[in-house]
Point group: C2
Chain length 410, copies 2
């Protein structure tokens, strides 16, 4: 076993710090890494490390020192509020040896905001008007906690508020422009659906390996494989064309499956109706995240009971009796019934056993039938998904959406 020379993505990288004891207790799930990565990657900037530390002054100071020793730019989130356990200002004071100084102009802004919203200002809010010496204010139009930036001998430190809807606009407006000048690579990212990770690897590997200065990574989640290819030099275009051709119908693009399907529906001006049993509304909910989808999505039914499958979608009761509610025939009848009843071009349906109980040897937990009805043609797919109830719902939602996508692309 040999030691490979380690790839060192640090020099041009950003170190990210999340503060918050609640994050270390797992609630809420920390989405800062993911959302900041999506902002900086298109600029050719990698996040080299991410640390989460508790609301504890010493721990934050140590984490800042460790991060600044490794990365040129450090972005920290949280701890900017007015209370005792909002330590970020004091941690920066200690880490950079820059004493906190009262900023009259900032105090005026803070008071103005309270006056505008007609909220009485508390004495503790004065703490938010202190910044480490030499820091500049990052205005926060979406909340009361201002951020700040420090240029510490060419190393940048940015402190941003914890709530994502305050943090992200501040990042985009006041942080990204400062670190933008360092683009060093291009990234191509896409999701791939319908073939296992190993097969994706076998397709991607030879194409990327032929291209000098390119490297790739794969990750899997809920049956969806994400591919990202990093190009250190030159244009990605020829390699991307090869990848697109080789991955073919399985290539979804950088968006989610629901976004891909919603985009196709609107582009092709097709209407859709949805009949869900075991996915329980998740297909409709995923599609309705897409702005403007009301032009295409006419109706949806959650038909848990057999009676509702018959009454709402016209699935013959004796078909359910003879084949069972979880069957190819009933899935197809649901899809057709949805399209016909709603007067939609496409009908999509799921029926299955999400678990944890209700399974049998013939029809185990995780069994789902998915069906699509489009242009008088129907197609159905059976699958037994692993995982718990939520996992089965999620995977069935993806497969149903993919059936619609393929039908639209044929």
């Amino acid at each position: 076993m040999s030691y490979q020379p380690a790839e060192a993505p640090r020099a041009k990288a950003v170190a990210l710090i999340s503060t918050g004891t609640d994050l270390l207790r797992g609630r809420p799930i920390d989405t800062h890494l993911s959302s900041i990565a999506r902002e900086v990657l298109p600029l050719g900037i990698e996040i080299g490390s991410h640390s989460t530390c508790p609301d504890d002054l010493e721990a934050i100071v140590e984490t800042i020192l460790a991060a600044t020793s490794k990365a040129e730019t450090v972005i920290l989130t949280g701890g900017l509020g007015p209370t005792e356990d909002d330590y970020t200002r004091r941690a920066a004071e200690r880490a950079f040896g820059r004493p906190l100084e009262f900023q009259p102009a900032l105090w005026k802004t803070i008071r103005g905001r309270f006056r505008r919203f007609k909220i009485p200002i508390a004495a503790i809010n004065r703490r938010q008007a202190y910044l480490p010496r030499g820091a500049w204010t990052l205005p926060n139009p979406n909340g009361s906690a201002p951020g700040f930036g420090i240029d510490h001998g060419g190393r940048f430190f940015f402190a941003l508020p914890g709530p994502p809807h305050e943090m992200l606009p501040m990042l985009r407006t006041h942080v990204l422009p400062r670190i933008r000048g360092r683009v060093t690579f291009k990234l191509w990212e896409s999701k791939v659906y319908g073939i296992p990770e190993g097969d994706v690897d076998e397709i991607v590997k030879p194409i990327v390996e032929k291209r000098s200065g390119a490297s790739y990574g794969l990750s899997v989640s809920g049956g969806m494989v994400s591919v990202s290819v990093k190009f250190e030099t030159g244009s990605p275009a020829p390699t991307v064309r090869l990848l697109e051709k080789a991955l073919g119908i399985h290539l979804i693009g950088p968006w989610t499956l629901a976004e891909a399907v919603a985009g196709l529906l609107l582009k092709k001006r097709r209407t859709i109706a949805i009949a869900e049993s075991c996915t329980g509304g998740q297909i409709a909910s995923a599609l309705t995240n897409y702005p403007g989808i009301s032009k295409s999505l006419l109706e949806g039914w959650i038909c848990y009971s057999n009676a509702s499958k018959t009454a709402r979608l016209g699935v013959p009761a004796d078909l359910i009796r003879s084949r069972g509610a979880v069957s190819r025939e009933v899935a197809l009848a649901m899809a057709k019934g949805a399209a016909t009843t709603a007067g939609a071009d496409i009908g999509v349906a799921t029926t299955g056993i999400a678990g944890p109980s209700g399974g049998s040897i013939e029809k185990p937990v995780g069994l789902v039938w998915h069906a699509v009805h489009y242009r008088n043609r129907t197609r159905a797919e059976r699958r037994v998904f692993p995982g718990d109830r939520a996992a089965v719902k999620g995977r069935a939602t993806n497969l149903a959406l993919d059936l619609v996508r393929r039908a639209l692309l044929e």
Copy 2:
């Protein structure tokens, strides 16, 4: 501004390390911190820090060294596969000065697994049979990558695979029993809905401050406030009773709103039907995550178009014309129509403008009407939610579920 003595949760805490360049690129979102926190907190163990580092040998070694200097127990995830960039075994070798040694018994287990699944084994898989000297194997019944543990002079290091469905069973079976003996505190956690964070703080603060050895934290997400109270000594029961009484109807419990509502529906044997416009299936999808809910949830409709509100739910067309689709009257008619059509005890409905377009001065983006019909009584609530389309859908889903919860509790 004074320096408070920092609370030091480290001594009894676990340090967590995630490895993976893909995680630092934000895909997938790293859920390890959240899911491991939920496992160890009930045992009285805090996670003192969490770091994510790239697939880079030096970075992993440094992160392990930093973590072991701070915490008695270090749990690392990822990097146990057979490929070149699976560095965890080599990083542990370096960090602890324990040379990798071939484990014939482990190699036999790995080969056996491949044979059982009739997959030809590659030469590189032999790498997975090397462990740092003195390490013990953590069997992986759910994947090909075995984990390992090291007792380094009383400090424990555990290396677990990255995929959550492999990591969590291994954590529960082979890690938690080893660190269980250190329970030092009790944690009470609950969600609170319907009052702002500041009001929750005003209620919780005086109760917790009166109790010695207790501290609390609040966090907010999507209009939901999470409260966690930590008791270092004694029984939490008297304080918890005070909190429960003071928070009253706003107290949801440790579960989600959808779980609370689903549990109430099943306990009280009430049936429900759902009519969703702007939430687009999200209410139904949230409820159907609950096992056994098919006993209570009869049917759901996603009625995006005005025509479908009339055809499926019997909302009078001239009511929609005169009041508008987004109105108290139409929301109430949808809720009643859903209950009546499905023959359910309860009907719940939403109609609103999720955005980003479609708003007016009178009816801005984010405006949602929520309605519940139960026992011949109806109630409706209007709200203008901030945030993007997904945020509006999520907040409206919560409020609609809370209306059902309150109706059931009256």
